[in-house]
Symmetry: D2
Subunit: 388 residues, 4 copies
């Protein structure tokens, strides 16, 4: 790694040196991690979209010491200062320090949140973003918890795909995904909530958009970041069991089903190793084959049960519709069936409005205006639940 | 400079190499520079806020080769792809390549605009941002001119001060300025116009906020970037006469007067070398001293004449008010007087609404909502002029 | 009736007389009726909310000859000219002419729509509003059909209850209902559609808010205005079978269920005559009794079948949620069940966002902002269906 | 007058009689008049646009006893209940009672404001609207003053011309004017202010749109409603001197100059009796003749002095621009000259944004969106003045 372990100031040769910068490894700093991760790691990985590290720090200057690598898809990050988005950028590979602010009033406390704008990358086992520490001339102060805790589980919509980029863009690249213009962040801001987010573009409840039954959020829900493969990710703790006691959400919002709907239109998936295949079918008249619909509904039911098992007191809201209504009724039925059979009245269904031409962003995905429209509905919905 | 001349790919050691990247110095690339600069330089400096380089390029990947330095205030940059803001970030010092996009469809043409988010830095002679070239596996295509050409001249408002950052921020740092959330860019987008922008926080028409009579936009209007000092900036061409034939604006928008108003409330400025001093005075009853007001109005008149001399056919709009109305009437009188005496009917005055608590941003400056409100009024105003 | 049969001009004694006014009974005029009615009546009744008469007329002046009576609840009316709302007023009892416009350019054609702002009044058998004719000095021209035809079926939401009046108003009076600020009119305007509307505050699918099983929209769907009682309404044709061939809607939007949900919280209804009673029950744990839920769902299913029988090719959208989500899942299940068993894929379910404090109007009902929010979602939804 | 003195209930023969209605002449009722009028009249005339009577009343029902006549232009009225617009309608000639509400909870207090939607009609001496009294079964309670008092002086913009009606409407009829969608009412609502309004379409400061030097607001500023002629209006007190002590505005907003600008484009006015003529001229090059501009500016100056003489402590804001900026600079100069020569710093100038195609209403006039845009700017502007 070319840039490993350089002192922050080395970057600015002619700059008037800030001789007061002190390096803090994570064990010496005070910070708060958002998003599932393995906090026992010496350098904490940010696995998921919106995964972030938050500090309250005085001083004139703050650098973050990160380590980045990838084979295919580079991570993007954003930085909020005092709750306002200040920067958003692509990260190059290497280990280096990034300056998050400088030249500020040394006595004021700055709230800084450095966050992933990129989903966990199941298709790039070389991809990771680690936080090693900070350099600052200030003092780190505790980061208090917000009023509520939320968890979002979703697909490309929840990965913010389409929230950046011009309408005509069709490339599947990290640049067009985000946490910063995402309904999940809008909701969390409005409700004064911390949040964790699990998402993967193309994945579903029963299977992925291309009928792969392994590519589902339920399959990785009980691990820290179970969809990541490879030796490095394993070492980083991605495959460890997630400790549900570490973060007890007031509400879990599941936004899944869009890719399960797409699977009915795609050819069968074939496992190149085992030869197994999988396919959701339509009848000749275009309707969904009942057996396939039933196994989808069972997957919805089972996922609700799985989320409930791990979150005994949380509201669970299945929110669906931003990219089309195809499976709205089957999901609603499954949620209703789950409620009836389990008497679990804290699970519910909420339909969201489908993005239109005007509210779409890049890659034919819901754009920022669609995220705002759905966020508004979910904010109002969650307020009723949380403030009851 | 620590990072000079590294090949783009060196940053990404483990990355699957893109062996097809070719380095283009500016003389080999096809591009368009926005903003006053010296295009005869081997590496083109971006001096002013919104100064930018724009390319139309095919290929999967594009890097920009830049050189950055500063003593006090680092430059920030933004990047639009196909007209949509994609990134915004602080630049470290050094010479290095930044990746602007990668992994895209090689056959589509991407319009890329890499621009300063930071004003020209009169108070940091070590500050510069140079463009050396690009690396790409694509082909550079011509960048057509837009329908109109605009020029904006202003102070901190036009430097976008306050358009980023939380309301409570009070530090004077580049991070809170921008071109991306600036009324000038909003207007140019809406009118399909190229634009150039000259601005300097704290400066005015007759004097600066602190009564310094040298810190005025008129004093540097005829040079490329006359407010920059130091040997390096001199070498970069900042002090060269500006060639007004190189860019003939359809309209020049002057947003000045806010700091001239402030000067009436500040102590006198003293020249540490010559011992000269300068001060705009108030009468005991709080009104402006007539003589001081008259010299301010003369400065407005003279600046209109100067702009007209160099732009014989442009509309000139003095737009004022976003940060308070104090000098609205004196400016209106001066514009009226100029029109009458010169019979120059293409000069006019437009009052803009003052930012309120709700529309203010950081540093008690007009925020993005104030910029939007004023942009709307100026867009409508300019449409009438330009489409007549 | 005190004011019967006065000539329009008699109202304006000193006024410069318009000697050119000619009286047109309906048989002599050219007009279009919107809303279910009995067009064989000599004076056409406007039974339902949004029921209206539309003309295209030249001339300087237009009066409408109406007959109004009521025992308890007076009708309110609105008038659009060229598509813009011009007036909204309470009607006094009597027969008289109302001036809709005067003093206009005689040669231009004015499109005039005179419409009820008040729902059909099931609780006031003395209530009616009849159109006898017009007085004008112009010529009546044909009124073309709009691009689409819609039918809306609903309760107080569709009666526009809450769309006028201050938030604190709690009186159940016609003044606070409307067609003019109603999601149904917003949708029809946006889609360029004619529309008919059937609505009754407090009524439901299986029973009313107070458990009366007779007060349901399905029970009167096949009559012109089957919820009206009394001899006068009978003579006016309210109880006649509705001719579904007279108006073939492209889509039927059903917004019902809100009162069925309320019934679970109210005491049993008792028939004072037969001694019968009816009640939807909750279990001790607060959930809905399964048997009662099932009969509600059967009512939803049966109503879909009834609407389908009479509208073989229309889209049917059950849109629900503006006043709370309580029965969203049971309705969704019933719609899904209906679709599966009948293979009727043109029936669907759409959840609408519940009104919040900010979007509520008078009488704790969805206000104009809630109607706008839901109209936007339904407009986008219907566009996809209708333009497919 | 055909309908004089009928009891309210006579209108509703079959209606269940409200036997509790009691008639209150104005001397027996408690009420508040808004707008200049002669309160010594037995029946109080509402002369000006937005002229209104406001009551706080309990009871189930309220009727207003009015007397209306006109030769050419009928009055329109609106009614707010508890601050929300409930009705808007054309008035027929005659004396009669109009029901403002009925069937409401008898114990709650309703705030009711019955107001003109029509400007004073200088061109129809037969036009008047008088308030005789009320019928109610409730009790009249005092109407408290609002926090501020405003006075608006203007032309057709302030008459609300264009705020109702479709864009294509070009007829000059009362129907398209309003107080209800007027910037003056929006401002007064937002600032919690009572307001009085003087306006006349086509009139100006020096002369009217057609160069008539008698048709100016200054000429009638010191009378109750000096622009009304005829014996009836004289008897009603229109020509009496206005008592400026009766209402001391915190701010006077003058929105005049639009018609003075138009006069430069119109032929001379000739007095048919005296043979005098008047004309504002342009030079051959299209600019305004200096002498004519100077007399316009003198008229602005003199009107400021006149308003100040009668309102010694009020802020005076000359707000101009909603229908074009032609005289913005001359007005600004005149205001500035007035401030300098009188040292009257409570007089100021505010430019408003010109209506565009999108924000225009009927009759090529600023529409409701333009009124909203300018109201926002004036609200913010006045807040700074009033809350200082």
């Amino acid at each position: 790694m070319a840039l490993r372990n350089k002192a922050a100031q080395k970057w600015c040769k002619k700059m008037i040196r800030n001789e007061n910068l002190i390096y803090y490894s994570l064990k010496d700093a005070v910070y708060k991690i958002h998003g599932r991760t393995d906090e026992t790691q010496p350098a904490v990985p940010l696995f998921w979209n919106a995964g972030s590290i938050e500090v309250n720090v005085t001083g004139t200057e703050l650098w973050i010491d990160i380590e980045v690598d990838f084979d295919l898809y580079e991570p993007w990050v954003g930085c909020d200062i005092d709750g306002a988005l200040i920067s958003r950028q692509m990260l190059h590979a290497g280990r280096y320090q990034l300056c998050l602010f400088r030249h500020m009033n040394e006595s004021t406390t700055k709230n800084v949140r450095f966050f992933r704008e990129t989903q966990a990358m199941s298709s790039d086992s070389g991809h990771h973003l680690l936080i090693h520490g900070f350099s600052s001339d200030g003092v780190f102060l505790p980061v208090p918890d917000k009023k509520y805790r939320l968890e979002f589980i979703g697909d490309s919509i929840t990965s913010g795909e389409g929230t950046y980029g011009a309408r005509q863009e069709m490339d599947w690249v990290p640049m067009f995904m985000s946490a910063s213009r995402n309904y999940a962040s809008m909701i969390s801001d409005a409700l004064n909530a911390d949040y964790r987010l699990l998402s993967q573009g193309g994945w579903g409840v029963l299977c992925s958009w291309d009928n792969n039954p392994h590519n589902t959020l339920p399959s990785c829900y009980e691990k820290i970041c179970g969809l990541l493969s490879g030796e490095t990710n394993e070492k980083l703790g991605a495959q460890k069991a997630y400790n549900f006691h570490s973060y007890i959400p007031d509400a879990v919002i599941i936004n899944l089903g869009t890719n399960d709907a797409g699977a009915f239109n795609e050819p069968a998936w074939h496992d190149p190793v085992t030869g197994d295949s999988f396919k959701q079918h339509r009848n000749p008249d275009g309707t969904y084959c009942p057996a396939d619909l039933i196994r989808f509904q069972k997957a919805v039911y089972d996922f609700l049960a799985l989320v409930r098992k791990n979150n005994p007191n949380s509201f669970i809201v299945w929110a669906y519709g931003m990219a089309g209504y195809d499976l709205a009724l089957p999901i609603a039925e499954a949620v209703s069936s789950y409620r009836k059979q389990t008497k679990d009245l804290k699970a519910s269904f909420l339909q969201l409005p489908a993005a239109t031409y005007e509210t779409s962003g890049s890659r034919n995905h819901p754009g920022v205006r669609s995220h705002e429209q759905s966020a508004k509905i979910l904010i109002d919905y969650l307020k009723v639940l949380l403030e009851a």
